[in-house]
Symmetry: C2
Subunit: 393 residues, 2 copies
Amino acid sequence: MSYVDLGYKPEETDLICEFSIEPGKGLGVKDVADKVAAESSTGTWVDVTTTKPYVKGLGARVFYIKGKTVKIAYPLDLFELRNVPQILSSVAGNIFGMKAVRNLRLEDIDFPERVIRSFRGPRFGIKGVRKLFGVERPLLGTIIKPKIGLRTEDHTRVAYDAWTGGCDIVKDDENLSNQGFNPFRRRVVRTLEMRNKAGKETGEVKAYMPNITAETREMLRRAEFVKRQGGKYIMVDVMTVGWSALQTLRDEVLGLIIHAHRAMHAAITRNKKHGISMLVVAKLARLIGVDQLHIGTIIGKMEGKRSEVTDIEDEIEERIIKPDIKNHVLAEDWFSIKPVFAVCSGGLAPKHVPRLVKMLGKDIIIQMGGGIHGNPKGSLEGARVARKMVDSL
Amino acid sequence: MSYVDLGYKPEETDLICEFSIEPGKGLGVKDVADKVAAESSTGTWVDVTTTKPYVKGLGARVFYIKGKTVKIAYPLDLFELRNVPQILSSVAGNIFGMKAVRNLRLEDIDFPERVIRSFRGPRFGIKGVRKLFGVERPLLGTIIKPKIGLRTEDHTRVAYDAWTGGCDIVKDDENLSNQGFNPFRRRVVRTLEMRNKAGKETGEVKAYMPNITAETREMLRRAEFVKRQGGKYIMVDVMTVGWSALQTLRDEVLGLIIHAHRAMHAAITRNKKHGISMLVVAKLARLIGVDQLHIGTIIGKMEGKRSEVTDIEDEIEERIIKPDIKNHVLAEDWFSIKPVFAVCSGGLAPKHVPRLVKMLGKDIIIQMGGGIHGNPKGSLEGARVARKMVDSL
């Protein structure tokens, strides 16, 4: 049985994947596309005697091949709704390890309506976050630096300086969780005290995003603690924590905005020939329902070219996504799933603000760590300079 | 401040990482190693005013550079014990996305004793699994094929044939979870009935590994259901589910053997220049405590060369791991963490058994899907042929 059917017109209920394929030795793109569609639906490396006529309807169909670009349509019945790991194990599972492929990249997934509607998406999203702060400009955040090592008292002092200088948000770094030099609970209590103080003094809403990254139950306990202490936010390293725990957080942590850091994503997303695109990662994060997501900076210390970053921003902020063949973007309709607030972070300085906003619009959270705490006059002054740039837009 | 200190002799308490580095344009390996060590410990892209003298002791140290191979020692205090996501966010986080690197691969992590001892490791491991079956030969498993699409009654019939033909274990495939054509609970109930029947008829111990892959709470509910129905095993797609939820499973699912499928691993492990090695993935799985783990086949449909697969097997089955510079293996002492049973799966046929056992020893679980159900005489005969090969060793 062949899984290639170039005359096939996908049904509205199909899930569609776009892959870039570099075939293994002696094989063509079509051969490999056939094997990929088989392995990710009903096939294996040989015909089996155990198949039934009714199974054929569940086969994936390769319906588009152009150069290395291949599109495959998967019948909806292959998937369990509200189950990101199952969807990934299907369309992004064994296929990456097949000898038949030399390189394989999952570029995008177009989810049908029933899959989209089976997820909750963000509870707050852009509007909910803006409601907390009551401003329409880009939000200004900082990451406490040095990224790890400060004791709690020093950590909170840096936070206080950043807030009073003009930052809206103070955030832990991705590798700070609950270490001896700065234990989680103590840090949350003290930093939120400083948040309250800075809020009163400036007359502005200030927020703290403590990093709760850990095993699922422990994360839930930490989130609960943050809530009891009057926190409004949690942050979590979504890639290292994983999809199952992220969904548990979204389902069970009520009333806290979820900030998603993407540490480790580039291990899987960076190679343009092999792996999974950041676009797919971002879509899964929106489906499950993070409220804020790191998308790149274009101009900072992290890689990510302009069209890539703007495509990711559009994908998480718009309702209707138009296909873009050149940039490997499939169509999508997000229906009632709310937009996610895009976060730009990594090597940004105040001088970058105008260009950043010109490229990405006002619906971004601009985070600066070194760009604020590297100011020779200190964090207070660094935050003032950064805020002035944001206010001058 | 430089993070390169080639005269540094790592402390016993340090966590050590080996990376392969391909520098970005205009940079040397040493420059990039310095940036990697900074970004994964206390540094960022500029000097900050907020640092304190006591923070310096937490800096990572590049202590070995030879060609593209770099070793970095991280002080233990940087890490939270029993927190795999935090460890990954530290040593395998932002660094993959830095413009300064062209390609970067985390080859191995040598965990110090306190990190090793903070995890539980497998509850059963090789000995526990062998105790269930009461045999010393390689175990024989099958995956129900076609991999997805069979209705429950047909699924159970194939399972029954495989067991009576001689398989010890029957396993769901990685993309089968709880779909309409074969709902989870019904499948578990009926398949376990068949397991009991086949067990009585053959006088052998038979086992079923239902795939519980889902959101954390839902996985726990499914595991609980399996246990109530008399199941001994669960299987889970560890890469798509993620580390936090896996640890929750290990902590809370008492009395069930955990079979770890690695679907999607090759998206991150396959490229030899960029990403994270399967060796690291396997170590994390052992630390957290899966009982069985897919490690590759050498001779099947999935890539993975001989030394790579045998290194992974040694890593999960031995107590003391000797360093092997050529193959990027660091030393390790697993202390009291039990060995994990290695699983070979993917394109295997009965004829492969002798070579497989010659290369990997008897402590393997040999799984054949197409190799059994592709037998022209059917699954019963396919299982008989496979079992005969195993018994003839």
